[in-house]
């Protein structure tokens, strides 16, 4: 008798407890309601995936929450964002360039996420490198949403015409290949770079063993004007003088995408290049992808990507938190991953659901480095850009320009 009572109680518990917990979850979900405004700078393909797949899936899970999506062009979004924060009419959640996060946190515009109970589990679930881009003054102000880096895209037809059989693995091999490409005639360049910004130049600086600052991002002297940085700038300057590097680096020439395959044999770019450029604009273009050529400091590139951040002025933080968590779910990361947004979840690192070109980017990311996380980043980048421009215009020596840049950046870091 006693035994049968115990079995009956156990059966009742087995049935009732999960049901009650499910009911509790359902109540918690249904208690979340209202509108969440989401700002992002997705490309048309990515926007379509977000609006047609991700948001409907979220709204099916949380029927009382409506996502108000606003996809903006990248240029001008930061301005729009800070203006809206100042006016108290900002969105609830933003897909922010990783470089904006320290600036937004510095103006007290972001909600620190490490105070929320759901944060630790997500912190463990994402790649540690991209997570570091959300850390500022002792707090995590966001979560990585997607990651990327730059790798080498090369034109197979130009390589073939120049008699080159494979992509250069080292900077020395690259110089030898460049000589062959130059021989193709005027208007043909081995390599094209869009400008002198850190995003463009730092892969070369790091690959030559140089750096912008020390590891704690507190000092530039000895790094920005160090031996490795000097060697990298001299490498690029030498390429420019020999006619290997296209003059469009100065500005006002044929863009890297416009000239790829016709004028330029090699460019560095991110994963969006494949769906956006090669599939939409140049479907017939033949291209190959390889790692950044290895220099004395290895094959290094720059960490890019976006973080998802909650604004301090969000009017619906519980619903916003639910949306952020959903954007970092396997489901949403897979949906966005298929259209070029490289996922940040450890669990999806080796997933076969993603495009075939992802592994090369993932391999490059292992040695890629972040830019300086500082609210003064735009000034640091401008200093770097201006000094390199001076060098390429022949108005200063590489050494003098980098010494001057290091002194200025030291002042900005303190």
């Amino acid at each position: 008798m006693r035994r049968s009572i115990i079995i009956l109680l156990a059966t009742l518990m087995a049935v009732v407890l999960p049901a009650s917990s499910m009911a509790a979850t359902r109540t918690a979900k249904s208690s979340l309601s209202g509108t969440v405004t989401f700002w992002n700078t997705y490309s048309p393909d990515e926007k379509a995936a977000l609006e047609q797949k991700v948001i409907p899936a979220f709204e099916a899970k949380y029927p009382n929450i409506h996502i108000n999506n606003l996809t903006l062009p990248y240029d001008g979004t930061f301005t729009k964002l800070i203006t809206s924060i100042a006016g108290g009419i900002g969105p609830d959640v933003v897909r922010s360039d990783i470089i904006w996060v320290p600036q937004l946190a510095n103006i007290n515009g972001l909600e620190p996420l490490d105070k929320y109970s759901w944060f630790p589990s997500l912190r463990k679930a994402v790649f540690s490198g991209p997570l570091r881009t959300t850390f500022y003054h002792g707090h995590y102000y966001g979560l990585p949403l997607d990651t990327n880096t730059r790798v080498m895209f090369y034109s197979k037809s130009m390589f073939q015409a120049a008699g080159i059989s494979r992509a250069p693995a080292t900077t020395t091999e690259m110089l030898a290949d460049c000589a062959k490409i130059k021989a193709l005639g005027s208007g043909k360049y081995c390599y094209s770079e869009g400008g002198f910004g850190a995003w463009s130049i730092m892969p070369w600086v790091w690959s030559f063993g140089g750096n912008l600052t020390n590891k704690t991002f507190s000092k530039a002297t000895g790094y920005l004007n160090g031996k490795g940085t000097l060697a990298a700038v001299n490498f690029l300057l030498g390429m420019y003088h020999k006619g290997y590097l296209s003059p469009n680096i100065l500005g006002g020439g044929i863009g890297t995408w416009d000239g790829f395959g016709k004028n330029y044999a090699m460019i560095l770019d991110g994963p969006w290049t494949v769906p956006f450029l090669f599939k939409n604009q140049y479907p017939s273009s033949d291209y190959g992808i390889s790692l950044v050529p290895k220099g004395p400091g290895g094959s290094r590139s720059v960490v890019g990507g976006e973080d998802i951040v909650m604004l301090k002025g969000s009017r619906n933080k519980p619903a916003t938190a639910a949306f952020m968590q959903f954007m970092l779910s396997k489901q949403a990361q897979t949906m966005m991953g298929k259209v070029g947004q490289m996922p940040v979840l450890n669990a999806l690192a080796h997933s076969s659901a993603f495009p075939a070109y992802y592994p090369i980017f993932q391999q490059q990311l292992k040695t890629a480095k972040p830019r300086t996380p500082s609210p003064e980043w735009s000034k640091i980048d401008d200093t770097f850009t201006s000094q390199l421009s001076t060098v390429f215009h022949g108005n200063a020596s590489v050494k003098d320009a980098l010494n001057s840049a290091a002194r200025t950046v030291d002042g900005l870091l303190h």
């Binding site: 930061f78 301005t79 800070i82 203006t83 924060i85 100042a86 600036q103 510095n106 103006i107 007290n108 515009g109 208007g187 296209s246 003059p247 469009n248 100065l250 500005g251 006002g252 020439g253 044929i254 000239g259 004028n263 301090k312 002025g313 609210p375 003064e376 735009s378 000034k379 401008d382 850009t385 201006s386 421009s389 001076t390 215009h393 108005n395």
Partner: protein, 314 residues
């Protein structure tokens, strides 16, 4: 006598209930004030309030989203010691020195042409004015293509067709060329407007003055020097003031074509102010730059008006 005659009026006024006077005046002027109210309110809210707010902001280390710190004149001191701000000031002066005389000379030439009995006058008027009504954004993008150092039409014509330059010029990538290149674009865009203003000025000159000069034996050039130029002096004054203000306020074309580069060689005061306020999120500094600039503009405009007034005593 006068005081006596005024007495009854004063007495009458003393007996008039004051409220009736106010009501009467209100009834009389109310429609006028009501008409003025919307415009005044908009002006106060969207012009005066931001001006005052920016002035206050310029004395603070402005925090967008929290308490700001009062720093006195530090933003102004920083600007006066900032080499990029000084460079931007020099740039706008150089820009004005190229674009203002260019627009005046070509604008006057176009106006004289359009004022003469040329055939298809209406067509030419439209042609000259077309760039004026075209948006700066469109013109800037168009010239970015024309100035392309590797595939632009200008290099193609000058180097490949006419062989008048030794090699391709980096119009927007060369520190020494970029600013004049943008200023030349401004001349092209501004000719139509200056021509229209000159045309209006030319049509105010009485024809009998020219006829009298002709009777006295004055040739075309003499008539132009002794009549046209002096009588156009007020038009010149207006144009110089307006064009200098316009040149100093250059923003859109630089923002689109070079973003102030290369190496700040095309940086204007407004692009630098914008960068500081909206990219560096330093609104206090941006506001201080704008006030220093306003002061400079005020001084230059006053000087221009004084100098040109002294010379236009006709």
């Amino acid at each position: 006598m006068r005081s006596q005659s005024l007495k009854p009026v004063a007495r009458a006024a003393a007996f008039t209930p004051p409220r009736a006077g106010i009501l009467q005046r209100m009834r009389k002027y109310a429609p006028i004030y009501l008409f003025l109210l919307p415009g005044t309110a908009i002006f106060l809210l969207w012009t005066i309030y931001p001006l005052v707010d920016a002035f206050v902001m310029s004395f603070y280390h402005w925090n967008l989203n929290g308490p700001s710190t009062y720093i006195g004149l530090a933003n102004y001191q920083q600007a006066l010691a900032d080499p990029i701000f000084i460079q931007a000031m020099k740039n706008v002066v150089l820009y004005a020195l190229i674009s203002v005389p260019g627009q005046l000379i070509f604008g006057l030439a176009a106006a004289l042409l359009l004022d003469s009995a040329v055939r298809f006058r209406a067509f030419f008027r439209t042609l000259f004015y077309l760039p004026v009504v075209t948006s700066w954004v469109v013109v800037s993008l168009l010239f970015t293509y024309l100035y392309n150092s590797q595939a632009g039409a200008i290099n193609y014509i000058l180097y490949d067709v006419l062989h008048v330059i030794p090699g391709y010029i980096f119009w927007l990538g060369d520190e020494n060329v970029a600013l004049p290149a943008i200023a030349f674009m401004n001349i092209w865009k501004g000719i139509g407007w200056t021509a229209v203003i000159f045309l209006a000025g030319l049509q105010t000159i009485p024809a009998d003055v020219y006829e009298a000069a002709k009777v006295d034996g004055a040739g075309r050039i003499q008539r132009f020097r002794a009549i046209t130029i002096p009588l156009l002096a007020p038009t010149f004054m207006f144009l110089v003031v307006m064009l200098v203000i316009g040149a100093f306020n250059t923003f859109i074309q630089v923002f689109i074509m070079t973003q102030g580069g290369p190496n700040h060689s095309t940086e204007t005061v407004l692009t630098y102010m914008y960068t500081n306020a909206f990219a560096n999120v330093d609104f206090g500094y941006g506001a201080a730059i704008s006030y220093l600039f306003t002061l400079l503009m005020f001084v230059i405009s006053m000087a221009e008006i004084r100098i040109l007034r002294r010379r236009s005593q006709y």
